[in-house]
Symmetry: C2
Subunit: 170 residues, 2 copies
Amino acid sequence: MELKEAKEQFIMSWGALGSNWGVSKTMAQVHALLMVSNAPLSADEVMEQLNISRGNANMNLRALIDWGLVEKIHKLGERREFFQAEKDMWKIATRIASERRKRELQPILKVVDQMKEIEDKQADKAELDAFKKQMTELENFTGRVDRIFDRLDRADERWFTGLLTKIMKR
Amino acid sequence: MELKEAKEQFIMSWGALGSNWGVSKTMAQVHALLMVSNAPLSADEVMEQLNISRGNANMNLRALIDWGLVEKIHKLGERREFFQAEKDMWKIATRIASERRKRELQPILKVVDQMKEIEDKQADKAELDAFKKQMTELENFTGRVDRIFDRLDRADERWFTGLLTKIMKR
DNA sequence: CAGAACTTTCAAAAAATATTGAAAGATTAG
DNA sequence: CTAATCTTTCAATATTTTTTGAAAGTTCTG
């Protein structure tokens, strides 16, 4: 396989994977394209290479910037903006972890927290207790995982690697 | 808030959250409904409580069974099937982890693995190396996370809790 | 085996999401 | 200030995903 071909293949596959993990195909493709480009690309280059419209390119580039996976670059003497993907895997991973924490874990905690204020004199005691117990367990578990992600976000790669070694030894 | 009301609220919220983490609203609702039901429910009860069609109920119940989050129950003397959700948070968590590993991590490994067979005499040497390096890093990182999930899947809760304590101490 | 009681399938319809492209908004240069 | 160049917005459109419901399939009962 040739390099150019490999890059294209990677972009397409990365896009297809996106949908498995809740990201739109195009957003994943834009990310992949920037990941395998040696130089920052302009919006027009992204549009052209992926065959998408200007609006679409703009929207997804912006979303990637929100995720912290892409940044705007200004070249001096150049009017337009360029976009560059973060290439360091550790940073990519922590950005994704952080975003998923915000989107997936914290909303659960919020919902479960509200469930605690039940006051029902009518209800069957055992049933009420069962419900409360379940909510508490859900909260505990989610809270624990949330704290791991938080820790991860603030740690550095060496910490993580060390941790892994420990985990794998057992 | 009353118990019944709380349960409904939980079901609705859980459903809304589902879309944040790549599961359809209805599937998440069915799961929530079964989680907060003290007794197993029949397909008809699920249909009725969530106002969904028979086909939809069937589909989502099946998907939940695939995920290992719900199981069929046969009551003796009863013709129809009942459905019961796993309520143990540890089991719920490992099932979800295992499923996501399969859907999110392993496909990445597969794609990246294919990228290794590049043979391009034409291409710029530095560019080729950069691409290969990136693919390797992606593979290493994903592989590591994949192994954690695998480990998690086979471990028990006490192991996990112990691990957490260690993580949090640092 | 026939009929009743359920469950599963799947093509069509509906709903939710993503994309387009033209117009409006910025920003810089002259 | 005006024109030129580039970015952002958003209503209309297209695509994808989910849901429906009726028909086909299955399994049990008598």
